[in-house]
Symmetry: C2
Subunit: 267 residues, 2 copies
């Protein structure tokens, strides 16, 4: 079994949860002050203020990357031969593949038209999180990279909310990842601030008093997925407040949510 249990006591959730998408957030451009824009969205969306003590804010990767300038203009990219060959075989853009390979710490799979890499953060995902959809109008040659330090991105938004509203709201940065064995993508956490992304219940008793041996809840990932259900892929909604979820506050890092290589059976 992976890392030693360092049990937290289970926090029983409240019986209901709400997900409230921020409305009216404008198209984000490089250099925009995203925390300030999100503060405006919190104010202008009915039903969100006052913030509550069990709120979490989920912000999607795309707007974080754009605001931080984590974008690449593909017209400036010269693909290596390996990228050109793979792109030709599988009807892909060789320049995007080149960007993925440049960003990669390690290639996990490059076959069947699928490029899965390990990013500098330690995430393993398709195209290293480099993405072309929903980057803005008239931006056919722009791709977004993952934020350089998504925990820090989350921390900046959290600090802005605390400064303005005096409430410490944990923040999750989310992105859409595929999974082996299952079809489709789900939103997961790629950065956190103010909460433990993993709630380790190993060693705690279950409802019948039996010690749980494998119950490690990936709470931040579930928050990201819950938010996606109110954000969708095409509605231009980049952030949501999740209200009422059971979670453990603390100075967690998304690194806590990455499987240590020594325990990873699917390198």
């Amino acid at each position: 079994m992976p890392p030693e249990p360092h049990s937290v006591q289970p926090v029983d959730p409240g019986p209901s949860l709400a997900v409230l998408a921020l409305l009216g957030v404008p198209e984000i451009r490089p250099g925009d002050d995203l925390p300030a824009i999100i503060l405006d969205g919190l104010v202008s969306t009915p039903g969100i203020l006052p913030l509550e003590k069990d709120d979490v804010l989920v912000v999607t990767q795309k707007v974080v990357s754009k605001a931080e300038g984590a974008i690449v203009d593909l017209t400036t990219v010269e693909p290596r031969p390996e990228a050109v060959d793979f792109a030709r075989a599988w009807d892909r853009d060789p320049r995007q593949l080149e960007v993925v390979l440049r960003e990669a710490r390690r290639i996990v799979r490059m076959e069947h038209g699928v490029l899965i890499t390990e990013t500098p953060h330690g995430f393993i995902c398709a195209n290293g999180g480099v993405d072309a959809s929903n980057v803005g109008p008239e931006s056919g040659n722009i791709v977004t990279l993952l934020p350089v330090d998504p925990d820090a991105s989350a921390a900046r938004i959290r600090a802005a909310i605390r400064d303005r509203h005096g409430v410490d709201v944990p923040v999750v940065i989310s992105d859409s990842f595929g999974r082996p064995w299952r079809w489709g993508i789900v939103d997961v956490a790629i950065g956190v601030s103010g909460l433990l992304p993993i709630e380790d219940l190993r060693g705690a008793p279950d409802r019948d008093g039996r010690i749980m041996r494998s119950t490690v809840r990936a709470v931040a990932d579930e928050l990201a997925s819950a938010a996606e259900l109110a954000l969708g892929k095409t509605a231009g909604r980049p952030a949501a407040v999740v209200r009422g979820a059971a979670l453990t506050r603390g100075e967690g890092s998304i690194r806590d949510a990455i499987m240590p290589a020594a325990w990873d059976l699917f390198r």
Copy 2:
């Protein structure tokens, strides 16, 4: 890229979503009429009735398996030598391992104390979904198996709701699965009725009019994860209504959510 796009038009979600856990559901025992018990829970939980047209009911695997008698008394199980050896090396129960191996269509990994198998349904998961926690008081030797046909389990609950309330509410059966590369478990769908578990947006335009090439939302999995945030692992809450999620109704099957073996790079 996996299966051909058979695009659905994106359904923009409403701007808010609620998850309402059913309260007061009693301990479930083999032979119990689970659909009837859930109907009672819908009535007795404030705020759920009348059911709305965008409701989905999520029911956790444990109560489905118990009601259907998909359980094994470990005192009746004689482990094979392979199970005994692995259990001894990794401090596990050889009888539970034996049950997992009996149920398995294929062993995917059996190392480091971890047994990952492919179930007869095609799911790939730790211990083939065989689970010992929260099976009820004084049941130290009882484990649950996955339901034999979780789509059918979902369909029976959906039919009972339709008969009683005249509303066609899609139903998702959920279970907690680990994922390669990431630490912790999230709830995913293992059975569905009345919705398409996968919303395939490939070929549809994104917000900027660009054709999306890889956007296949695993909506049923996200519904399961959202529900888990209001259910938890220890509060004795086996079901929740998710209200307001964008989804596509239809006679889907959880088989649609399983990656075809030909496209699976992590067999």
